[in-house]
Symmetry: C2
Subunit: 693 residues, 2 copies
């Protein structure tokens, strides 16, 4: 089934980076064939079984062999595949110990004269799976493997995908079609796509998936009942084979809506008992259930505030219920007043998450994890890093990115998000002095957290290429890789993805990587300048509308007037937001001279004639970047067209279609934004380019 | 049934102006009782039968009598009720002749010593009905009737309501609940509300109703098939009793979608035959079917343009099919390019209807009527009158008003529209020199048209008071009255409505009428200034968003920049729209000095410091009106509160609720609009009131 699909499906479309068309380095095929001719394996573990099947498939397709499977180490070439336990049974040495993180693995050349023996030793079954996918990547790209000596340990314990899929089949902020979990208020019957999805996730180290939207509606509320759990458990079964735990978003009002209680007060004894009973029930069906994701007291969702309880009290009642089963509660920090008054410029939505959660540091149970969006606003093309990362020493935290391109081109525009995500991970919170990077907060090392990790909101749907825009696959690939190892550069990840997806041809790799690497900045250029964000059509979040959110209740303002633009978030004259950072960072942002210009309008209200470090005025910078952005899209198209005939036709065409949309729509952005500022200021472009009156 | 409902329902809520609680002038009750003690009637006509039943009900409830019914004229007091034919049979003299318009009636005192005999003679059954409702109005208000000597002739042949109800039960631009025709893609089963609706319409002279939305979706497309016609015919039966013809909006692509043809080309022989067959079928079910309403080639609807045919060709194929049955085609002129480029300031949506239809004058069959919105844009709180009214000498035209308050407060704000409608009717097109009023175009007298009239888009839904806002009932009442007689003043109509609905107490009448009469101007004050329109949230059309439509594809711009605001529609420097009017009008608008200031920004781009005739600058006018608007709403509330205990509690409360919303939202409008212009200009309010920065 799988194999047939892989062959039939177009490379780089449905099969994404698991494109096993052929080995890309013919010189090494003989070496590979030797090493892999005999698999030594003791097939006694579910995930290991999956791993071996994946390996067999890859070997067949990439180098055309069907290996002998043995349970003894031969004298000649071989590939050992096993867990730490297996390694001990076979009396193999390994650096892996029980102390290593789950999923760790070692790949090493064995002591064999022709260098044609290799051992893949996982700490556990999942480690074996990851080791196998490591090997497959190398086989496909055509890397020398006979000298391997690596130990690979996942840096982050939780590496997750959040789906915002609704039972209706719609996906909130979905830009790649409908849900592949649900359709018309029912759970889908055919699981073949789910299995292919689990493979994709497993191959990049993802180990958790939340399969329903954080906004939990009527039907999804019932997912934790006997009516739905049998079906939900079937999803868990599929994911389990690939080392992935299933989580559910829950409705905080469930005790009322499902349990018939009069309250969902977390301190109410009946409510506590109800959650306990419910957790027990869930684990009857799914013994390795991951836990709950909760959006509470946010954007109209129910939560503990209703009962005058705080978030810690709110989360702990769930955590207590899950704890005996090893489950966790992931509690989102996207909590803010969404009925702000635009008239009051002292109000600042950016301050909300910190204000709400900082006072509760230390009050959460140890199986509660706070899920914090990368920025304090909402996944803008550029915004500051959330100050919460440096603020919660005694609380588990997981970092939330959004692969779904809600504000970043909605998978019509190419926008490779790894450079942005790396910026966030490399941001120095100074929480424990210099070097207190966000990456160290979220991998748990800085504050010695019990749970931590990285999560991305899914950019997937039922589109043939999964992500609508084929190049958006790189963001999914990247989230897995960066969650595994935040030290990988965005360019390394891009290269790896392009090679696996479209092949190793230098021209292809260079071209696609160069588009990807520039794409975020290009999108930023023709949209909202210097960290101010928004300026999009309300609700849809696509297309320019400079004043679209200006007088809204959402706290999303740019305050452009006849003199200048920007949000003054300083302590001295503004909202005081900068004080949420540790001193070194706070003073950098506070002072307009030291504030990074990319975030200038995020932190300061700046006159149009303010001179930037480039020597340009702010207004001229706005004009220039908007013209440049469109020119860059034209360059992208030219570059992409040069690949015609070189990569899979369908993928090529899909990208072409989207680039054309991107060009058309980037022009609209350019013209509206430029005209807006021209109408505001009456200041002409010094280069005399066309700005409509 | 009816009677029970009338008693149970709250006065001025469900029963609207047919509030028969008691006679409001006790002094005249004896006179009424005498005159009405004996009804002379020959009950041989459906509508006349309805009329008599209505009369009996009213007599019972208003003056508490059950009259004797006789088919002979007695020597003593009597009330004769009959058609022209009846009058002749009884050898009564009457001024009514066959030449009078359908629905005409005479009410006159008979030659009787005590002045206690009255004759109501209708040209036809409908005329009798209208005469009866005339009498009921007078009985309720308590007017002297014994000396009556009136002949009342409807000025407009067609007096219609258009429903934008969808089979789903939703109403496009509906602000009074769900449809009372359909629910969940089915036609409703219980017709009692339909009957009450027919009474309301019949009582104000409405004689046509289109029961489905001009945007015709899947299910409504099938209303002209055997599957739905039996149910549609049941609606027609109910309306027929009150002299109202039923019309349907049709889908121009029906020959394809229903007929299985490959084309809907109006010149295709198979298409012609299909429409003929379809018309025949409809008349089998509804022998007095009114005809079709068509929105074609407009906002994405199908139409003749698809086949490179013009609107005349498009309409005539339908007209031919309906003609043998006496049916008509009402063809909407709301045709414009809704993909305009905001960059091109020479484009002007206001010009579209004229440009599209003027060249076709004389090409339409004589049973085609063009339906023209009052203004060239789209039902704004103030805009110019459509130049088409003066431009189509050889074409039937009907004037479309919108009672649904899409852009005029959505039935949350009180906005009595009669003053605006009167302005339109009194507008002098100069088509045949001075005095060529729109009212004379639409009553058919100016161009000697065969069909003509006035239509309003319904403001009704399943809300208990029909219109959501109880005071919005006045607009429905008004449309009937003004379509009957465009000479009635908006104040007369308001007074009549208040008396019938809430009683004749001088305080009540004065208070409510004063609110109604000011309400349109008040709404205008705090929304968009001087005819510029829009400035609302896209799609919803409610709430301020000054730039909401500024860069859209809808052709709805105000072009505000740092110097000024407005659309230059002059011939000399602008879009040339003014040339669509006849000379006297064109030159008035062309010149900023003679252009009525209420429409200043509709016709001219004006600097913020331009001095208005009041001596104020434009910017100060904007500030002043926005402050005044809110103050006026506060006044409305004070006035309304003075009625507490004087009028029906439920109606009082419903209005209170809405006035509170109006106050809150008018403040939002005031503040956003003022801040917008302050941020634009940096010019302060000379009175130093609070404008947020």
């Amino acid at each position: 089934m799988l194999e047939k699909q892989l062959i039939e499906s177009n490379n780089g479309v449905y099969n994404c980076w698991l494109n096993y068309a052929k080995c890309l380095n013919p010189k090494l095929v003989d070496q590979y064939k030797k090493i892999c001719s005999c698999l030594v394996v003791n097939n006694n573990n579910t995930v290991k079984h999956t791993a071996v099947e994946e390996l067999k498939l890859a070997l067949k397709m990439i180098i055309g062999i069907e290996p002998l499977v043995s349970n003894e180490i031969p004298n000649s070439s071989y590939l050992f595949v096993g867990t730490l336990e297996d390694a001990r049974a076979f009396q193999l040495e390994t650096k892996i110990t029980e102390k290593y993180a789950d999923g760790s693995y070692e790949v090493k050349a064995a002591d064999n004269e022709q260098n044609t023996a290799l051992q893949i030793i996982g700490k556990d079954g999942t480690g074996v799976l990851y080791g196998i996918f490591y090997l497959i990547r190398n086989l496909r790209i055509g890397k020398e493997i006979s000298q391997s000596q690596i130990v690979d340990i996942p840096r982050n314990k939780l590496r997750m995908i959040n789906h915002w899929d609704n039972a209706s089949g719609d996906i909130e902020r979905g830009y790649a079609g409908q849900s592949f979990f649900y359709s018309n208020d029912e759970i889908i019957k055919n699981f073949s796509r789910i299995k292919d999805y689990a493979r994709l996730l497993g191959s990049i180290g993802i180990n958790g998936v939340v399969i329903n939207n954080v906004n939990v509606h009527n039907i999804e509320t019932k997912f934790i009942t006997k009516e739905y759990l049998p079906d939900i458990a079937r999803f868990a079964d599929v994911f389990r084979n690939y080392g992935i735990k299933l989580y559910l978003s829950i409705n905080y009002a469930s005790p009322i809506e499902l349990g018939g209680l009069k309250t969902a007060d977390p301190l109410d004894e009946a409510v506590k008992q109800w959650w306990k009973k419910t957790a027990d029930l869930i684990y009857d069906y799914i013994p390795d259930f991951g836990g709950f994701l909760v959006k509470a007291d946010s954007e109209g969702r129910p939560g503990p505030f209703t009962y005058e309880r705080n978030h810690a009290q709110g989360a702990n009642v769930l955590a207590e219920a899950l704890k005996p089963h090893g489950g966790i509660v992931i509690w989102r920090c996207f909590v803010y007043n969404c009925h702000l008054d635009w008239r009051d410029r002292s109000l600042d939505r950016a301050k909300a998450a910190y204000d709400n959660f900082k006072p509760l540091d230390g009050e959460f149970m140890d199986n509660v994890i706070l899920q914090v969006k990368n920025g304090p606003m909402d996944f803008q093309i550029r915004e500051a890093v959330s100050p919460l990362f440096g603020a919660m020493e005694k609380t588990n935290m997981i970092l939330e990115f959004q692969a779904a391109q809600e504000y970043t081109g909605q998978q019509k525009h190419v926008c490779y998000l790894l450079p942005m995500w790396k910026e966030v991970l490399n941001f120095d919170t100074h929480a424990k002095g210099e070097g207190s990077y966000v990456s160290k907060v979220v991998d748990g090392s800085l504050f010695n957290s019990r749970y931590s990790g990285i999560v991305a909101v899914s950019n997937l749907g039922d589109s043939k290429c999964w992500t609508g825009h084929p190049l958006a696959q790189a963001n999914l690939y990247g989230i897995g890789r960066i969650a595994w190892n935040p030290e990988l550069s965005s360019e390394e990840i891009a290269k790896e993805w392009v090679k696996l997806t479209y092949g190793c041809d230098e021209g292809i790799v260079q071209t696609v990587v160069s588009i990807l690497m520039e794409s975020r900045e290009v999108y930023e250029k023709y949209t909202s300048p210097l960290g101010i964000g928004w300026m999009v059509n309300p609700n849809y979040h696509y297309g320019p509308s400079v004043e679209g959110y200006e007088y809204s209740r959402w706290g999303t303002y740019h305050y452009a007037d006849w003199k200048g633009i920007g949000v003054d978030r300083t302590v001295s004259t503004g909202t005081g937001y900068t004080a949420q950072y540790h001193e070194a960072v706070a003073s950098m942002y506070e002072n307009i001279e030291t504030c990074p210009e990319a975030l200038l309008l995020f932190f300061h209200h700046v006159p149009y004639k303010y001179q930037l470090k480039t020597g340009k005025t702010l207004i001229q910078h706005i004009y220039d970047t908007h013209f440049e952005g469109v020119e860059k899209v034209e360059e992208f198209i030219e570059k992409w067209m040069s690949l015609k005939g070189k990569i899979n036709e369908e993928a090529f065409g899909l990208v072409c279609d989207r680039l054309r949309i991107q060009l058309k729509d980037s022009k609209e952005w350019r013209d509206q934004v430029n005209t807006y500022f021209y109408r505001r200021t009456g200041i002409k472009d010094i280069k005399g380019r066309k700005i409509y009156e």
